[in-house]
Symmetry: C2
Subunit: 151 residues, 2 copies
DNA sequence: TTGACACTTGAGAATGATTCCTACTTAATG
DNA sequence: CATTAAGTAGGAATCATTCTCAAGTGTCAA
C-alpha cells in the first residue's frame, strides 16, 4: 500500500522531469485525481477532488496545470472541439477528418470507410447504440505548410 | 436561380411545420447560413453571416434558434462534449462509448474494434493522419431506465 | 547546503460563450 | 381579422476559462 503510493509519487516525479516540469505537490495531486477518476472528468470535478487533499488549492491552479499537462502531453483531451458549439447540417451518417492544429473539420462520406462493428463490451454494459462515427485526427495541408515555414 | 431560392424557402417552411416550429425569416436565414457554410460553424460565425442579411438580428436569437434546431433534430452538433473540457489519462489508443443523454464517456479497448483503414479522400486533401478514434453514441443503462420511469 | 532565479501558487479581476429575462412583435389558427 | 401562443431584440446574468500580480517554492550550480 505504502509502496504503491511511493512508487506512484516517484513515477510522477520522473514524468515531470522528463517533460521539464517542476515537481509540486499540487501537480501531483491534480494528476492523481485525473488518473483515479475513470469518468473523463472536467477541471471543475478535478478541483472538487483535489480540494479534499489540498483545501487551499485554487481553481486557477487546477486549470493552469491541466493546461500544462495538455501542452506537454502528460494528459489528453477527449475532444478537440470543446469551447464552442460546432454545427452540422448534414444529417446523414458520415465521418470526420479533424485538423489538430486549426481544428478544421472535413466530412468524409460514410461509404469511404468500411463498416465498424459494435464491440461486445458495449452491449455488455447495457448500452443501446444509435450510431458511430470515426474521427480521423491529423494535420491539414495549410497547417503543415505553415509549420514548415516557421522551422 | 430564383426557383432554387423559392424551393429552398418552401422546403424550410415545410420542415418547420413538420417539427412544429413557427416559420420566421430569422429562422430561415439562420438555417440557410448553417447549410451554406461548409465549415461546421460556431453560433458566433452564423451570427456574422446572418447579420449581412438581417443587420438587426441579435446574437441571442441565433443561439435560441440553434438550440431549437438541435432539440427538434433539424441540426446536429459535432461533439456532445463542447461546453467543458473533458480529460483523458489513458494515453494509449482506444475508442469511446458516449451516452447522448448524460454525456458519460466509457473507454473501449482498441483491440475490441477491428482496424479502420484511412479513406483515400483524406489523403487526397493533403492531410497527414496521426490517429483515429471511433465514437459509439447511444444511451447508457441508467439513462434508459430513467427515461422509462418517466413515460 | 545555499543563494539566485525562474517557475508556481492563490486570489481575484477579466474575458468569452451561452442562457435568461422582459417588453414588444409577429405567425398560426379558426 | 382577432386571439393567442410563439418569437424577437437587447441587455443582464451565468458559467467556463484565462489573465494578472504579489508572495512563495523548486531547481541547479557553486
Amino acid at each position: 500500500m505504502l509502496d504503491m503510493r511511493t512508487q506512484a509519487l516517484d513515477n510522477f516525479r520522473r514524468r515531470c522531469k522528463e517533460h521539464g516540469l517542476a515537481f509540486t505537490f499540487q501537480r501531483q495531486v491534480i494528476y492523481e485525481a485525473v488518473v483515479d477518476s475513470h469518468e473523463h472528468p472536467t477541471p471543475e470535478l478535478i478541483y472538487e477532488q483535489v480540494r479534499r487533499r489540498i483545501p487551499s488549492i485554487s481553481l486557477g491552479t487546477v486549470y493552469k496545470n491541466v493546461k500544462t499537462f495538455l501542452d506537454t502531453g502528460v494528459l489528453k483531451e477527449v475532444t478537440l472541439h470543446h469551447g464552442s458549439l460546432r454545427l452540422e447540417s448534414n444529417m446523414t451518417p458520415h465521418h470526420h477528418l479533424v485538423c489538430s492544429s486549426c481544428k478544421a473539420i472535413f466530412d468524409i462520406d460514410e461509404s469511404a470507410v468500411e463498416p465498424v462493428h459494435l464491440p461486445k463490451s458495449a452491449l455488455l454494459k447495457g448500452f443501446s447504440i444509435d450510431q458511430y462515427r470515426v474521427e480521423f485526427v491529423g494535420e491539414c495541408k495549410k497547417c503543415r505548410a505553415a509549420r514548415r515555414h516557421k522551422s
